[in-house]
């Protein structure tokens, strides 16, 4: 019984969302608000279940690590943002967390991008095939041209920088085109999934 209700609800919700493709209408707005509300309710549950319960409540109350109450004290400082007199307390916690995050940026950037820089300059000789070597060379040329295109501290007016910069712009267009193509395909996959659901699971018009 629940499965039937779920199928019908899902079909009505899907059609309600697709009604926007005709024009803006109250049915779409209803399902839009419903989606936001459900998302918020789910996030409230997730925040408690995945973060606050295992990392704060259980260590503090069950394991007796009383000092986790200070996390609550620090977290509660956010709410002083509503009072101009006490807003400095909110700034205290926000700025400290931003300082921590700034430190984390150095660490994450070094951990992610330094290996990428190393991996970007791959050998063009002593590789399994000529094609691999050519691809490695092309990757390096693309990388350098695109970086050059975004380098504004030197003039791009004279050759060979003007040509390399122009080539960089063309490579960016090729990359953006490829990104666009894969994004469209990902979205269309979702659309096909919904159509399959409507025609196969709900209306049972098509069979596999």
């Amino acid at each position: 019984m629940v499965e039937v209700i779920v199928t019908w609800l899902a079909a009505i919700a899907t059609l309600g969302i697709y009604s926007i493709l005709y024009k803006e209408n109250p049915i779409y707005r209803f399902f839009e608000h419903l989606f936001i509300g459900l998302g918020l309710g789910w996030t409230i549950f997730e925040v408690w279940k995945d973060i606050l319960q295992p990392k704060w409540w259980t260590p503090m109350v069950v394991e007796g690590k009383w000092y986790w109450i200070f996390a609550f004290v620090i977290g509660s400082l956010y709410y002083f943002i509503f009072s101009p007199r006490f807003a400095w307390m909110a700034r205290l916690v926000i700025s400290t967390l931003m300082g921590l995050s700034a430190g984390l940026v150095f660490k994450v950037t070094a951990a992610i991008y330094i290996p990428q820089i190393e991996a970007s300059f791959r050998p063009i000789t002593f590789v399994p095939s000529i094609a691999r070597g050519l691809n490695n060379l092309l990757s390096t040329i693309i990388l350098l041209c695109v970086i050059l295109y975004f380098l504004f501290t030197i003039s791009h007016e004279k050759q060979p920088l003007a040509g390399a910069s122009k080539l960089g712009r063309w490579f960016i267009m090729l990359g953006l085109g490829a990104m666009f193509g894969s994004t469209v395909m990902a979205r269309l996959s979702l659309f096909i999934d919904r159509l399959t659901f409507l025609l196969h699971d709900w209306l049972k018009v098509i069979k596999f």
């Binding site: 779920v6 509300g37 967390l97 300082g99 995050s101 990388l143 490829a178 979702l190």
Partner: protein
């Protein structure tokens, strides 16, 4: 330190928590009373600077077996960051409630949508909690209907409608007026054709092996994604990383005007 040992006695634990709570707010109240605005600003700047040291020092200081004296603190600090961040979540809820309760109270156009938003939020949160903690069969059924029947299909349908908008935007953007537009459209068409059976059928007459096989649409599409797109994304990523470091430095050194007390 002995004071930071876990307390097993529930009464002592409760007393300790209440005392810490009261003590913390007393310290904050005293700071509010006796520190001047300038001193408070300096305190904020100093704490921001000190906090910024933690992760960077942990990463840059020499480590033995991949660990230095700060490494054991990375996980607890990460947990504390997540918990403190989670306490900020209700701020968003308050902001949303102010907007939508205002809609309902003033009976603005479409106020009933705001009401449905609250009903959906409460229904989902309650059913999820009752299903997870109380294991009530009714709560489980309601949760299944809300989650599998509404939340997931609504999300997927919402994301898939973007396909139509992207295509309509592309119709305007891809008008072949210059070399850049041609290159972008060409790459997009090759990548899209490379992922569908029709595209693969177009070049199915080409051999599967050898140099000519590289011209098969699925191989071309793969080449675009792994060589051209990856290199471009990497170059853009390096630019973003440099920008991120510059921004992090400004935040760390409190050079951002908005971080100062009274700053705009």
């Amino acid at each position: 330190m002995r004071i930071f040992h876990p307390i097993k006695d529930p009464i002592l634990l409760t007393a300790c928590i209440i005392a810490s709570l009261l003590g913390s707010f007393l310290v904050l109240a005293l700071m509010h009373k006796f520190l001047s605005m300038r001193a408070k600003g300096r305190l904020i700047t100093a704490l921001t600077f000190l906090a910024g040291f933690f992760y960077s020092l942990e990463f840059f200081l020499p480590a033995k077996d991949g660990k230095n004296f700060l490494t054991p603190w990375v996980e607890p600090v990460g947990d504390a960051l997540a918990v403190i961040g989670a306490f900020a979540f209700p701020l968003g809820l308050i902001s949303l409630a102010v907007v939508h309760l205002g809609n309902i109270r003033r009976r603005r156009e479409g106020w009933y949508f705001s009401l449905f938003l609250f009903i959906a939020m409460l229904a989902m949160a309650l059913s999820a909690f009752l299903n997870h903690y109380a294991r009530l069969p009714l709560a489980k059924n309601i949760f299944t209907c809300l989650f599998s029947g509404l939340y997931i299909p609504l999300g997927v349908a919402m994301m898939s409608t973007l396909a139509f908008y992207i295509v309509s935007a592309a119709y305007r953007a891809f008008r072949v007026t210059n070399v850049e537009a041609v290159l972008m459209m060409g790459a997009a068409i090759i990548v899209m054709l490379g992922q569908i059976p029709f595209g693969m059928w177009l070049t199915s007459w080409l051999p599967m092996q050898g140099i000519v096989a590289s011209l098969r649409i699925e191989n071309l599409s793969n080449w675009f994604m792994t060589v051209v797109n990856m290199s471009v994304q990497r170059a853009i990523g390096f630019g973003l990383a440099i920008g991120g470091i510059a921004m992090a430095l400004r935040v760390w050194l409190s050079l951002e005007r908005g971080m100062q007390l009274g700053g705009k």
